[in-house]
Every structure is written in structure tokens, then in C-alpha cells.
Amino acid sequence: MSLSNEFSKGFYKENPVFKLALGLCPTLAVSNSVQNAIGMGAAATFVLLCSNVIISMIRKGVPKKIRIPIYIVVIATFVTIVDLVMAGFAPALHKSLGIFVPLIVVNCVILGRAEAYAGKNSVLYSFIDGLGMGIGFTFALAIIAVVRELLGDGKLWGIPMFGSGFEPVLLLILPPGAFLTLGMFLGLFNWLDTKRSAA
């Protein structure tokens, strides 16, 4: 396994949201604007990166039976750091993400990577894996948020994109829009895969 391969697998081939269907709660909840999506993606990437590195460092000393609680404590520590830093430096973002910042603890992407990768691989590989998966997660959030914000609000990153004649599809900003958009994206990627394997 090459480093570049480990890095790029999170983008598409093993994308945590579209391919592995992990971390869906924050994906649905914060994808109503691109700013929120990037903010959540960055926070989750930081936690994923740090927890992957620490867990990979301590992996030889962790008894197998209690590894999950130990992983959770490591993750929760970094989530607390992110929570406090975000509240201090980006209060507006912290407010609009709401309880989903502390809920990064139970984001299954992070615990999933700890269990499936960082607990078995070296520090360097775990770092690369965390970075790749984090970027893949951010990318997935951003692409859903672009569709929802553009069609549902007529804006991108808060800037109006269309003239005043544009009638926004309000439904996409509301909760149902999150489910429908994600469902369509999952279907689209399935369809692309079957086309590719058939060709």
C-alpha cells in the first residue's frame, strides 16, 4: 500500500459519506449552507487527524477488551478542544452548528477510522489516512451543501447568485431537503459505479 493511495482513497473510492454511509447525522444537519459544511468538515478533520495519530501511538499498550472506551476518551478530549477554540474564535459558526460540535464525539467516521485503521497501522499511515478521510468527509458535506444552498436559498457562501427573479426551492433548506439531496447523491454514485463496472 502506497502513501498516496492511502491518502486519496477517502476522496471517492472509500468516501466516508457516499461509499461507507458513515457520519450521516452531521452530514444531514449542517449541510444547509456551505459555510456550515466547511466549518463542520474542518472541525471533524482536526479531531480525526489528532485522534488517529494518538490512537496509533498508543495502539500497542491498549488492552483489546477496553479499547473502545479508550478511543472514545481520546476523541472526546479533542472534541472538547475544538468546542472551546471554536466558541472563542468563531462564535457565529459555533452557534449555528449548535449541539453538533460536541456530537462529533459520536461521529462514526472518527471511531470507525480509529477501530479499522489507526489501531492497526503506523503513525505516519494513520496521519495520512485521517487527513484523506477528513478531506473526503468535508468534500461530501460541501457538495451536498452547494446543492442545497444554491437551489434552496439562491446563494453560495452567503452571496446571492441569481437575480431577483429567482424563486428559491425552500424545501431544500428545510430538513426534508437534506434527506432528498443525500438520497439522490447516493443513487447517483451507485449509478456511476455500475456504469463504470459495466464498461
Binding site: 454511509a21 458513515l22 450521516l24 447525522c25 452531521p26 444531514l28 444537519a29 473502545i68 472506551p69 472514545i72 476518551v73 472526546a76 478530549t77 472534541v79 472538547t80 468546542d83 472551546l84 449541539i99 460536541p102 456530537l103 464525539v105 459520536v106 461521529n107 462514526c108 471511531l111 424545501l171 428545510l174 430538513p175 426534508p176 431537503g177 437534506a178 434527506f179 432528498l180 443525500l182 438520497g183 439522490m184 447516493l186 443513487g187 447517483l188 451507485n190 449509478w191 455500475t194
Partner: protein, 210 residues
């Protein structure tokens, strides 16, 4: 707290701010366990049980260990000068409490009622990483609910989750027979159905309760 206020909390947690369809909490089990009715009902009851218990325990932890009041346990034990403010530890404290609570419940149920364990047992370990449980604990805190209101909110949130899960399981059992395009089979169609259900639940947001 009056009965009316508790009723409002309950109705709004079940219908208006349904945990799954409006707040997006607990999506993983919602999609993962809704393939057949029996496991959906089992999971639903396990979640109601753990959510109510978790609301109760996390409220007590917050009131007597984290909040800077004169009844803080650490203030009393260590004879500190001022009550310590430990609320920044809430994420770590709550997730540990929930994880150990789930383990404990699993052991108790196994000893006390093997029949119940057989039907709920496999769902209990999954609940630790169900974000709805930690979510309800954090929401209780954000909304400044008192002890009774927290328990009612936890119970109602669990009922709302179960309602959404059981409805979804019913729909998905019927979907087995339906001719669905190949690319949409499985998880994608489940999300589209969830979207339609969410539209239906959006109707409750017009509900005015006094």
C-alpha cells in the same frame, strides 16, 4: 413545573422537533435497523429505555458534579474556596457515563430477564454511538430543563425516535416488493422515503400549542 409545560415538551419532542426527521439525530440506526419490523421495535424500546435513563443520570451529573454551585460534590469533598466550574468537561463526562450506563444496563438485563435480553440484547451495544442519546443529554442542558422535565424530554425523544423507526420499517418491508431502479435500491431509496416522511412531519410545525 406544571403538567401543561411537560405536555408541551413531550408533544414537541415527539412530533414537532422529531429527533430523527427534524433534528437529524440517530440517523445511523434509523437507516441500519429499519429493514424489518421486529428489530425496529426492539431497537425502539431499547432506545426509549436508555434515553430516559441517560437523561436522568446526565442531569444529576451536571447538577452535582459539573455546575459551579455550593452543592457541587467536589466543592464539598475538597473544601474548596469557590465552587469549581467543570461544565467544559460535559462532553467527556456525558459520553463516558452513557457508555458505562449502556454496559451496565446490558449486564442487568442479562441477569434479571434473559427473555428481554434476547430481544433487546444485540441492540444495546449499538446504542452507545447513537448520537440521539448524547444529543438528548446536551439538549436538556441547553434548554435548562429541571429534573422532571429532563426525564419527560428523554422519554418523549425516545418515543419520537421509535415512531419514526417503526413507520420506516413498515414502509421498507413494503418496498421489498416494489420495482425500484437498481441504482436507488437499499440506502438511497431509504433516504428518499425519509425525505417524504420528513415533509409529512413538517406539517406538525404548524401546530400551535399553548
Amino acid at each position: 413545573m406544571e403538567f401543561n409545560e411537560l405536555l408541551i415538551i413531550a408533544v414537541s419532542a415527539i412530533f414537532i422537533n422529531n429527533f430523527v426527521l427534524t433534528r437529524f439525530l440517530g440517523i445511523c440506526p434509523y437507516i441500519g435497523v429499519s429493514k424489518n419490523m421486529d428489530s425496529a421495535v426492539g431497537m425502539g424500546f431499547a432506545v426509549i429505555f436508555v434515553m430516559t435513563l441517560a437523561s436522568m443520570v446526565t442531569w444529576l451529573i451536571n447538577a452535582f458534579m459539573l455546575k459551579p454551585t455550593t452543592s457541587n460534590i467536589f466543592y464539598i469533598i475538597f473544601n474548596a474556596e469557590a465552587p469549581p466550574d467543570l461544565t467544559y468537561l460535559k462532553t467527556i463526562a456525558f459520553i463516558l457515563v452513557i457508555a458505562s450506563l449502556v454496559q451496565f444496563v446490558e449486564m442487568v438485563v442479562q441477569k434479571v430477564s434473559p427473555a428481554l435480553y434476547k430481544s433487546l440484547g444485540i441492540f444495546l451495544p449499538l446504542i452507545t454511538t447513537n448520537c440521539a442519546i448524547l444529543g438528548v443529554a446536551l439538549l436538556n442542558l441547553d434548554n435548562d430543563y429541571n429534573f422532571i422535565a429532563s426525564i419527560v424530554h428523554g422519554l418523549a425523544a425516545g418515543v419520537g425516535f421509535t415512531l419514526a423507526l417503526v413507520l420506516m420499517a413498515g414502509i421498507r418491508e413494503k418496498l421489498e416488493m416494489a420495482p425500484i431502479p437498481k441504482a436507488l435500491q437499499g440506502i438511497p431509496i431509504a433516504f428518499l422515503m425519509a425525505g417524504l416522511m420528513s415533509i409529512a412531519f413538517l406539517g406538525f410545525s404548524g401546530l400551535k400549542i399553548q
